[in-house]
């Protein structure tokens, strides 16, 4: 069984978690032109890499950040968003 560590609930089987996609910053909807907005809405960075991603522990509803290698499915680190941001992580 593959495990993931929820920052609140500890290690749990991966089937208890929902994937929320890569962490990205939203362009200002007032200022972004149609092309920039379409790029944000539709396009993905789908290259294998270590990515910061949103995940949710569904039984408890805890959303958090997991840093995961999408080439090997290795989970490197999980942390609550505030803590992750506090460590000066840039949102790409």
């Amino acid at each position: 069984m593959k495990l993931m560590t929820c920052p609140i609930n500890g290690p749990r089987v991966i089937s208890e978690f929902a994937y929320g996609g890569e962490v990205r910053s939203m362009p200002d909807p007032e200022k972004a032109d149609d092309a920039a907005w379409a790029d944000y809405v539709f396009n993905h960075n789908s290259l294998p890499a270590v990515k910061a991603e949103w995940w949710c522990h569904t039984p408890s509803g805890v959303w958090f950040i997991a840093e995961r290698d999408t080439a090997t499915d290795t989970i490197l680190r999980t942390s609550l968003y505030a803590i992750w941001r506090g460590q000066g992580q840039a949102v790409s």
Binding site: A18, H44, E53
Partner: protein, 399 residues
């Protein structure tokens, strides 16, 4: 089966990246219908090593959008005479295809799909549970009492075929007409130049050297984002694994192909008697074809809800492929903002059935530098124009 070419030439009119069914079919139709023979197909591993050789081979045309229905119907037509065309047995076997409905809402969708299909002259009909029972007496029509089958969408032309033979047939046909197939040849970079009208393809760099060319067709399924990055393009494609598994061979008992979106199961019985089974897409991004126990366990559980008598049957193998998914479940095909760079991608979990028509339409597109009419709804720039195609008929279960 193919000529072996010891070295790559320094240039080709057209380079096709990816020796799966799609790339090989395009090479075949370019040579056969357009008289272009100076073609290299580059495959980083062996022919059919990608999703072509990993798929569960379901062929059907009962989609939901007019674009989709017409496109897949043309593919079905092309499929039927391929064995003769290739002089190779593709084991193309028309079985009939049931998409089960376990709720009133699903039954409504089946009627809707049947009407769209009939409008385009495709044999689909909504049938009741009695018809399902008659076609598959071995099924527990109540699914253990908690998800009773109310009816189904029945699509008589639904079929299966031998996947490797499709790659080999197209490969041999292209090879005989002069196209070169180079296995174990990986594209690692693409050179662009500006000849006055923006960036254009100039050459591809491989592990075996540089090839000058002005036209590149990229047909690499789950590797598409990596190739797009080589020419500086972004796309909505996201890559998740799709898994499948096969049982030990047993006596023939299941003639049709059965799909249940609610139970996340689809299954057919191969000519060798194996049950070929699949479920839905893995739930998160991964660029790897690993298998999981979770998948085998949950699929086996759902199979037993439909067919409890299989409880003693063993699973022989499981595997996965990397599916190139799009937000509207329609492919991304045709020209791109980079001159001479054409894509046949976004085929996700359902592109095997489209192999012939993709080869046909992409060969036309590459030869004429103009998108074939059948693929205009699938263009690369539809997302930037907010004009999605919305192929829900493909969405529910992976195939």
């Amino acid at each position: 089966m193919f000529a072996r070419h010891d070295r790559l030439k320094s240039s080709y009119d057209i380079v096709i990246i990816g020796g799966g069914g799609h790339g090989l079919a395009a090479a075949y139709y370019l040579a056969r219908d357009h008289g272009i023979r100076d073609i290299a197909v580059l495959e980083k591993s062996y022919l059919g090593s990608g999703n072509t050789g990993r798929n569960t081979t379901i062929i059907r045309s009962n989609y939901l959008t007019p674009e989709g229905v017409q496109f897949y119907d043309e593919s079905l037509r092309l499929w039927r005479d391929l064995s003769q065309d290739f002089d190779l047995n593709l084991f193309y076997s028309t079985r009939g295809h049931f998409t089960l409905a376990h709720t009133d809402a699903a039954m409504r969708t089946m009627r809707w799909r049947a009407e769209v299909n009939k409008h385009y002259g495709i044999a689909s009909e909504a049938v009741d549970s009695q018809a399902v029972r008659e076609a598959m007496p071995m099924m527990d029509i109540t699914c253990g009492g908690h998800a009773p089958v109310l009816g189904a969408l029945y699509h008589a032309p639904g079929a299966i075929a031998r996947h490797d033979a499709v790659a080999w047939g197209y490969g041999r046909g292209a090879d005989r007409r002069g196209a070169e197939i180079h296995q174990h040849t990986e594209v690692v970079a693409i050179e662009l130049e500006d000849r006055g009208s923006g960036p254009c393809v100039a050459a591809v760099i491989t592990n075996r050297g540089r090839i000058a060319t002005r036209k590149v067709l990229c047909a690499v399924a789950g590797h598409t984002p990596r190739l797009l990055a080589m020419v500086g393009l972004r796309s909505p494609i996201y890559v998740h694994p799709l898994q499948a598994m096969v049982s030990e061979p047993i006596k023939p008992w299941l003639d049709p192909i059965v799909v249940s979106a609610s139970l996340h199961v689809y299954v057919s019985q191969s000519a060798r008697g194996e049950l070929v089974m699949g479920a839905s897409l893995d739930p998160y991004e991964l660029h790897s074809s690993r298998s999981t126990l979770d998948f085998a366990e949950s699929l086996a559980g759902h199979m037993l809800e439909l067919f409890p008598f299989l409880s003693d049957v063993k699973v022989n193998r499981q595997w996965a492929g990397m599916a190139d998914m799009t937000p509207d479940f329609a492919p991304i095909m045709g020209l791109t903002p980079v001159g001479g760079f054409y894509v046949d991608s976004g085929w996700g979990t359902w592109g095997f059935k489209a192999t012939p028509v993709c080869g046909k339409t992409m060969s036309h597109t590459v030869a004429s530098n103009e998108a074939h009419p059948l693929i205009r709804g699938f263009s690369f720039d539809r997302f930037a124009r907010y004009a999605l195609t919305g192929e829900k008929g493909a969405a529910s279960v992976g195939h």
